[in-house]
Symmetry: C2
Subunit: 373 residues, 2 copies
């Protein structure tokens, strides 16, 4: 449990990303391969690497990115997929995950990336970075392939937190709008609230309350509120950001993923049916390749934790080099845009207004200032 | 608002299905086309038809199925998609939907089919047919394309009811198992309880409670309980029946449908990309056709209402002739198998045991009696 930093004269231009090398299903090799992939494409990225240095150093050397490691944090502990969050919170100091979050906390890195246990990562992030003032429940936002021009929609929360009240859902709307602006360049995102129908009388009581609340904050949050949306709108064109509680969001994305996988499996099966269809498959390869690229979950790998003092990106546990690289790219983009600070300012300004009990203005001053979160 | 029955000497062999001709998005034409499609394939099916007879009779004659209409209920009222369930319950007598349900209530038909407003249909069905003793919340079960040998999984509740407690979820498991046996010929269905993870510590309190409860009733209900499952298992091989509350189920199926539609759209787009890919598409047509048939939502059209004294099948509002015919076929199969009576007996036997507070036997007598629900 030593945490020895060995800074190697960082290039000032570089943005430093804190990477947890351990805890993913494919081991440190996949993580380091992903780091190399990102480093190759992006000269402005530097890393703080967390894990057992003796084990990691040869991998880093082989990947040819030794020069990109601005600091090593040599820690031996690893959070496993089986560890309960409550256990990790008490005993997790000295793990690579804890150390990776502390780099952000201490201002050493601008954002952290981990492939490890989601619940543990959220628990450590929450106690080490702390919630933004006014945020009751941090959320995890993901990108989902959609028919919208930007190619993706934001959905939050998908973090498996069991419940969210109207105020939590409002925070998710504000944070999701800010994320869509900074992570996806959608200047005025359309927000939808997930329900079982678009009619106003449908759904749970907290959803009806949230509907009214979110509509009131649309101008301040610089988004358009499209009201209730349904599961079919998640990959659709109706909204750019879909707001829901963590339980529903988690079930929805896994159902969508499972359905996409089933169709891919059945498509493969269909093409194996006869000699003619095998030939057709060969010709269809480029078309299928374009489809695959469009809906490849590895390209949108990275759940972003929103509502904390700092940016944390959770990569899929099963991510390969391409997936890890996508998560690192997302962390870099958010760090570069100053997302954490913009989000904090946005949440604080809303919080202030709410505490004042002020009548909300129709169009507050500065709403067209694109520089804001 | 006359409800005039004009019975035309029914053939005793025939099983009579009560059909609501009105209220679907494609009008009475689509419903009657679907009835004709089913009638053509199945000589044992007869209809009781509900709606404005003057309007329907020419359509029926043109479809060539006048002889199959065993009774006409000439009613002029129509429930629209916009009508609130609470309104329909008070003012719905004299509508084709109400009349169609009353045919089942009065024992005239063995099952009812409607393409109309889901909430209104559930409300009318509940007040006219009444719940089975011991059932607190009726549920809507649908079939979902899956990688299982039977090609489909059952999911319930998808009915948009906002909540379900542990006891409701147990009832869903018992009813879903009975439905899988009778509707899909799976003698001993595997039941999964939908959650955000398969670990026992995850999820809402009522899910942990339901997990213990459902496990205790597995032998009596003649199913295998596989414990918690995730959204990805909905189209998967882990379980035959997925149990959840109506809110989560509704969001999940709509997300799955939306994702499948998005992939189809993108696939079509990919194949239009170049001349070569258009040619490839031509050759790939049979393979794509096989895929489409496998996941065609029209083939699995029909949400079955479970927990009432009688069988009601809700067809998709947008159903065309193929969709309506699939819903009628499902209603026929369930009527023929005596599903309503078997389900009632199964629920009653469990209810009795629960009220006695009896220690549940490991393997109750008669559990291998395949004739039971």
């Amino acid at each position: 449990m030593t945490a020895q930093a060995d800074t190697q004269g960082p290039d000032d231009r570089r943005i430093l990303i804190s990477v947890d090398a351990m805890g993913g299903d494919n081991g440190a090799e996949a993580v380091i391969a992903g780091m190399a992939k990102s480093a190759e494409k992006n000269p402005d990225i530097g890393y703080i690497l967390h894990g057992p240095r003796a084990e990691l150093e040869p991998l880093v050397a082989r990947a040819g990115i030794s020069e990109r490691i601005h600091a090593w944090h040599d820690v031996s502990g690893v959070v496993t997929m089986e560890d309960k969050p409550s256990h990790v919170v008490r005993h997790g100091a000295g793990t690579s995950m804890w150390s990776a979050i502390d780099s952000v906390r201490d201002g050493e890195a601008k954002a952290a990336v981990s492939c490890g246990n989601t619940g543990a990562l959220m628990a450590i992030s929450t106690i080490r970075l702390r919630r933004l003032p006014g945020v009751n429940r941090p959320a995890i936002a993901i990108l989902w392939p959609s028919l919208n021009p930007q190619g993706f929609n934001v959905m939050l929360d998908v973090g498996a937190d069991v419940r969210a009240d109207a105020r939590d859902l409002l925070q998710f709307a504000l944070m999701g709008a800010s994320y869509a602006r900074n992570g996806m360049n959608v200047p005025r995102p359309r927000i939808g609230l997930l329900n079982v129908g678009t009619e106003e009388h449908k759904g749970r009581p907290e959803l009806k309350e949230a509907q009214a609340l979110i509509a009131r904050y649309a101008e301040i949050g610089r988004f358009d509120f499209v009201g209730f949306v349904e599961g079919s709108d998640l990959p659709g064109k109706t909204a750019d950001v879909i707001v829901t509680d963590g339980f529903t969001g988690n079930v929805a994305i896994k159902t969508g993923e499972g359905t996409a996988n089933m169709i891919t499996d059945l498509l493969r099966e269909s093409f194996k049916y006869s000699i003619l269809s095998r030939f057709a498959a060969l010709l269809a390869l480029p078309a299928l390749g374009r489809l695959k690229k469009r809906v490849d979950p590895r390209r949108v790998n990275g759940g972003v934790f929103l509502g904390l003092n700092g940016t944390v990106v959770k990569s899929h546990g099963k991510a390969d080099a391409t997936g890890v690289s996508a998560a690192i790219k997302l962390a870099f983009q958010l760090a570069q845009s100053g997302f954490a600070e913009k989000l904090a300012a946005r949440v604080a300004s809303v919080e202030e207004l709410a505490q004042d009990g002020a009548e909300l203005p129709e169009k507050p001053a500065g709403e067209h200032n694109e520089g804001q979160a």
